[in-house]
Symmetry: C2
Subunit: 331 residues, 2 copies
């Protein structure tokens, strides 16, 4: 039985290309004592992966050249040398871009079967959903009647942010690229409005969509969208800095012009990484699972078939080419 794994071949300068990856085949190793052999079923592709393909200082170490690309998967246990797992168990793993892998039991989390599709534990019930949940609740802290704006609104995180804002009694406004995504955000997800940043009138369109200004901005994108939002923030508003995807492929970072708005409007701007709330994942899972079961949380996936397509999927994701949570179906 052979494994296929995508390793990092080189660090990209600027945009990621498929040449930065190398597909390696090797025999599947047997699990050692305390380890579990997992067959990966679903691989999640996420913007943070760009940050790991770098030697720049970040909140976790980057991937080294020749190492398997990092990533979350949902898989099935094939063989276990940890008493807590048995063949057939479904698990959430950090095994990355490969078909099979061994991990210590402590590094795996069991995923329940039957409640929701397994792939959802990589999306609205996984890291992106929890990012939306804790970022909005703990930093954005929206009050009923306030206006919440989220960028990358049709994506895995943004779509949950806006729907949670609606559940909290807020006006939810999305920013997305293209009419199709904007339609989806309003008609399917139930946002009050969605602005197409590709339409060329970002400031004017956002001002129209937010007649009472903006109280919470959930930032996934950065760049000119951030500067435009800084012009629209209300006094005592909050900005959740969750992602700056427009910077990830830039060789020079975007330089923010409207920093002064933070002073004038006494804005609170706070960066977040979902791992900071890992002790409270259970709370988020319960809340999000409840909304999903009640039909109050809509969710869309974009699926690529086969591990071979992973690099192209990430390249496209970083350019906004996905529509919904980006997954690779491995088996």
């Amino acid at each position: 039985m052979n494994n296929k794994a995508w390793t990092l071949a080189s660090y990209p300068a600027g945009w990621v290309s498929e040449e930065n990856f190398k597909l390696v085949e090797s025999p599947v190793p047997p699990p050692k004592e305390g380890e579990v052999l997992v067959k990966n079923l679903w691989l999640s592709l996420d913007p943070y992966m760009r940050g790991r393909m770098s030697q720049q200082k970040s909140y976790v170490k980057g991937v080294e050249i020749g190492e398997v690309m990092t990533g979350q998967t949902v898989g099935e246990v094939l063989e276990s040398k940890d008493a807590a797992f048995k063949p057939g168990d479904k698990v959430l793993t950090g095994l990355g871009w490969q078909l099979y892998g061994c991990a210590k039991g402590a590094e795996l989390n069991k995923v329940p079967e039957g409640r929701a599709p397994l792939s959802y534990y990589l999306g609205c019930l996984g890291m992106p959903g929890m990012t939306a949940y804790f970022g909005l609740k703990e930093i954005g802290a929206p009050k009923a009647g306030e206006t919440v704006v989220v960028s990358a609104a049709s994506g895995a995180v943004g779509s949950v942010v806006g729907q949670l804002a609606k559940i909290a009694g807020c006006r939810a406004v999305g920013i997305a690229g293209g009419a199709q995504k904007c339609d989806y955000v309003v008609k399917d997800l139930g946002f009050d409005a969605c602005v197409d940043y590709k339409a060329g009138n970002l400031y004017r369109d956002l001002r129209e969509a937010c007649p009472k200004g903006v109280d919470v901005y959930f930032e996934n994108v950065g760049g000119e969208i951030l500067d435009t939002m800084l012009r629209l923030m209300n006094p005592f508003s909050r900005i959740v800095v969750c992602g700056l995807i427009s910077d990830y492929n830039a060789t020079e970072p975007y330089r923010v012009a409207m920093f002064r708005s933070i002073l004038v409007n006494r804005i609170k701007v706070q960066g977040m990484i979902v791992f900071d709330w890992k002790d409270r994942y259970g709370e988020a899972l319960k809340a999000l699972g409840g909304y999903l079961a009640a039909g109050r949380l809509k969710y869309r996936e974009s699926v690529l078939e086969g591990i071979e397509r992973a690099p192209g999927g990430l390249v496209s994701l970083l350019k906004g080419g996905n529509f919904g949570k980006q997954l690779v179906k491995l088996a």
Copy 2:
């Protein structure tokens, strides 16, 4: 009896110059019913005044052309048509850049005599002191053992910030312009270190002065100093955005390059205006007055004699030419 008042003659483009002001003489008006006639003794010059000489949106309305320049004074009551005040009372006023003025009693605050020099109520016991107190305590929230950095460290706000940080058990590091100010900050105010931003090695010098990184940065300056500090902030650190003086005279704002550090390090960045805590001024006054009486709070004033010198004093202040709290002695 004639009044002399500096009015705004024109809005500056870029740096303020003395030609932006016009000195106007006129008879002193008698107080109307409910008003108090005050003879100003001390005028405070502060960086925020640059913001008022502008039609740009800010947290309060700017000064109109022909209006008396805004500013705080300490004065003496000459005549009162408000039963709460009597001639001889010393009061804190918002009468601005003039020798005499009438104000409603509700717009004045009595200042006690004998506890501290009257001018201190424009400085370490006034708005600058309260800015330092609430910004550091409520947003910076330093814990003993942490490192606190403050820019414009020899100024009215910065000098109090660093001394309060020491009282809280922190390492206090200042940033100031020139060896003389840095010496004062360390030797007289008791900071652990002070970096001269004019010496040309800002990043290296700050890194040496902050061997454990920075947990709280109290920002009075902005510009390249802000970008340099963003490279030195620790995970979960806080930035109090109190002033961006380097931007106030710029026709184009400085563009911040290191915004990404907010995400990577989960920094909380929050703007502040001291008026937001006006209900708690008594608390700050009690604390600061206590430290002053106990000799734990050192304070330095820079005094110009005569109202004629006010415009030149502000021009110099905005270029960092003052050394300590800038005042104009009016009588």
